[in-house]
């Protein structure tokens, strides 16, 4: 049994998002929640690429980097507001995804993985080396989004943590809504069909190259918006956002949570974002435990955390 991507998943998540803050012991947890949501948004994009269309990318942090630095640079150099810088970053990412996707999506499996890996490394090297523009490996500050003062003038006082919790949650819910629309649509079916059998997909008239490319572009936009929100939330950004480790982290979150399901992806993002915070009690063994957890999950819950658990308890209808 697989988790179907439908409105029930969206509703469950919305309820969790609303209820969760009542359990927060301090304002710090709003920040953690906001971070979970922004990671989950990028991972939902990967669910479309990996889970729907069956293609791999080990370089999606490159798009996150583009989104992040668009928000850091565009307001300063082009004078456009940060909100529009998010859209500018997304547009640049989409065009780049179109240009590089066309040639590299002919590759399959490991070869595609390595080609996308090269793209991610390229972006992070450019960001590290263009010191004059990006400040190099030391990073640079990111202008504030400017929405919070606006809300204050309207009489709504929110702490930074509360604001980003709400803002990122809204972005995530919209992202998931779009991903569910796609899943149930003809475009999504074409993607899932070519995942199942490219040969058969072609015989029913599906232009396989076109739909792989669409999945790649859409997932690049998700990663880009995720990168933008991360930059704006932190107010500071380094080239690490585009680094290889971030790409791997994103894929791990998707696979750990259950790559076919948007709710699973969110769950995976939550686990991998929270686990390091919890594991700080293990001090230097933190990474060891984290790695061990991941290995065990893949051995015993190969479909990913959520779909495997759902299958065990026969959670029908979700």
């Amino acid at each position: 049994m697989t988790l179907k991507n439908n409105w029930v998943q969206l509703a469950i998540l919305a309820v969790i998002i609303v209820i969760l803050p009542t359990f927060f012991p301090s304002g710090y947890y709003y920040r953690v929640g906001a971070l979970v949501f922004v990671n989950a948004l990028s991972v939902v994009g990967l669910v479309i690429l990996i889970g729907y269309a069956g293609q791999i990318s080990l370089g999606h942090a490159g798009f996150a980097g583009i989104g992040a630095y668009a928000c850091a640079l565009a307001p300063v150099h082009l004078g456009i507001p940060p909100v529009l810088a998010i859209l500018l970053g997304a547009a640049i990412s989409a065009v780049l995804a179109l240009l590089i996707g066309r040639p590299i999506l002919r590759l399959k499996g490991y070869y595609l993985g390595v080609a996308t890996l090269g793209f991610g490394i390229l972006v992070s090297m450019v960001l590290s080396n263009e010191r004059g523009l990006t400040g190099g490996p030391d990073g640079m500050s990111v202008p504030s989004l400017g929405l919070r003062p606006l809300l204050r003038d309207m009489g709504l006082r929110l702490s930074g943590g509360e604001f980003w919790y709400i803002f990122n949650a809204a972005a995530l819910l919209i992202g998931i809504w779009i991903a569910i629309n796609l899943y149930q649509s003809a475009t999504g079916r074409a993607m899932r069909a070519l995942h199942g059998s490219e040969t058969a997909a072609q015989t029913v008239g599906i232009d396989v190259a076109r739909f792989k490319l669409q999945a790649f572009i859409i997932s690049a936009v998700y990663a880009s918006v995720g990168g933008s929100l991360l930059a704006l939330q932190n107010g500071f950004i380094t080239p690490d956002v585009a680094g290889f480790m971030h790409s791997v982290e994103m894929v791990t979150m998707a696979v750990l949570g259950g790559v076919g399901s948007v709710l699973g992806a969110t769950f995976g993002a939550a686990v991998l974002t929270l686990l390091p915070q919890i594991l700080t009690v293990f001090h230097e063994y933190e990474h060891l435990v984290l790695g061990l957890v991941m290995i065990l999950v893949m051995i015993f819950l190969p479909l990913g955390l959520l779909p495997s658990l759902a299958a065990r308890i026969r959670w029908r209808g979700v």
């Binding site: 049994m1 697989t2 779009i178 629309n181 796609l182 149930q184 649509s185 003809a186 475009t187 999504g188 079916r189 074409a190 899932r192 069909a193 995942h195 199942g196 059998s197 040969t199 058969a200 997909a201 072609q202 015989t203 029913v204 008239g205 599906i206 232009d207 396989v208 669409q214 859409i218 076919g260």
Partner: protein, 260 residues
């Protein structure tokens, strides 16, 4: 006029001439079968006609238009589709979704409308779903519509593949061993279905090992051996042809193996 015209088709793999100078034609509403012993080149021939392999000689004409070596998705658009000897099913999709995916060209999706779930896209999906259910009815699979396709029996998957191919709305349908691995009852069902499809005007090209079925339903038979066409004609002609008997059924010294 023939809807599908094959002439001089050939391909080599390394030094092996797998198919050489094969030509024949198929008319609307006609069932043409390609038969021959294992390794005669039947599936290779299919793969060339359906755009999976690139032939190095000859041509394929669909409705008078040269479509040699066109990609399968282009051929589907022009009205030619096929099923596979080794099943090619979208395993993780439901039975209904498999057939709905077959209506891809009818739906002609727009990515923006689909991302935002615009009413136009939803309406078209609903219409197509209705048609897909009718096709499932036709192949006796409507009860399994919501099941994951991977859970179906082999015979049911064979029928699902035919339903999916029909969703494309083909003028020419290539069926690669549609009855392989099916029991007698299932074979008979598929048999009836193929005859019915031909009656509706679809040109059918069939590869099948079940000789009883081939002799019963074919209008015309093309016999291949070692990649060459050795005979062609009505079932009666072909079954009396001494070359065919020698190559296909074995000579008198050997016991005959009708199932090749």
């Amino acid at each position: 006029m023939s809807i599908l015209e094959i002439s001089g088709l050939g391909i080599s793999f390394g030094g092996l001439r797998a198919v050489n100078d094969v030509g024949f034609s198929v008319n609307p509403g006609e069932i043409v079968s390609a038969i021959g012993p294992n390794g005669a080149g039947k599936t290779t021939l299919f793969n060339m006609i359906s755009g999976v392999y690139l032939p190095d000689a000859g041509s394929v004409k669909l409705n008078g238009e040269d479509v040699t070596a066109k990609a399968p998705h282009i051929l589907a658009k022009k009205g030619l589709t096929r099923t596979f000897q080794n099943l090619q099913i979208f395993q993780e999709m439901t039975v209904l979704e498999n057939v709905v995916a077959g209506f891809h060209l009818t739906e002609n999706p727009s990515v923006w409308a689909d991302l935002l779930s615009l009413p136009s896209a939803r309406r078209r999906s609903a219409e197509v779903c209705e048609k897909a259910l009718q096709l499932l009815e036709k192949v006796h699979l409507s009860k399994a519509a919501e099941e994951e396709a991977g859970n179906l029996s082999y015979g049911a998957l064979k029928r699902l593949e035919i339903a999916r191919a029909l969703a494309v709305g083909p003028q020419v349908l290539l069926l690669d061993e549609p009855a392989a691995g099916c029991n007698a009852v299932e074979t008979e069902e598929i048999d009836e279905l193929i005859v019915e499809l031909a009656k509706s005007g679809i040109a059918i090209l069939l590869v099948e090992h079940d000789m009883k079925m081939v002799m019963r339903i074919s209008n015309h038979i093309v016999v291949l051996d070692h990649g060459e066409k050795i005979a062609e004609g009505t079932p009666e002609d072909v079954s009396r042809n001494p070359d065919v008997i020698a190559a296909y059924l074995g000579t008198e010294e050997e016991p005959a193996h009708a199932d090749g």
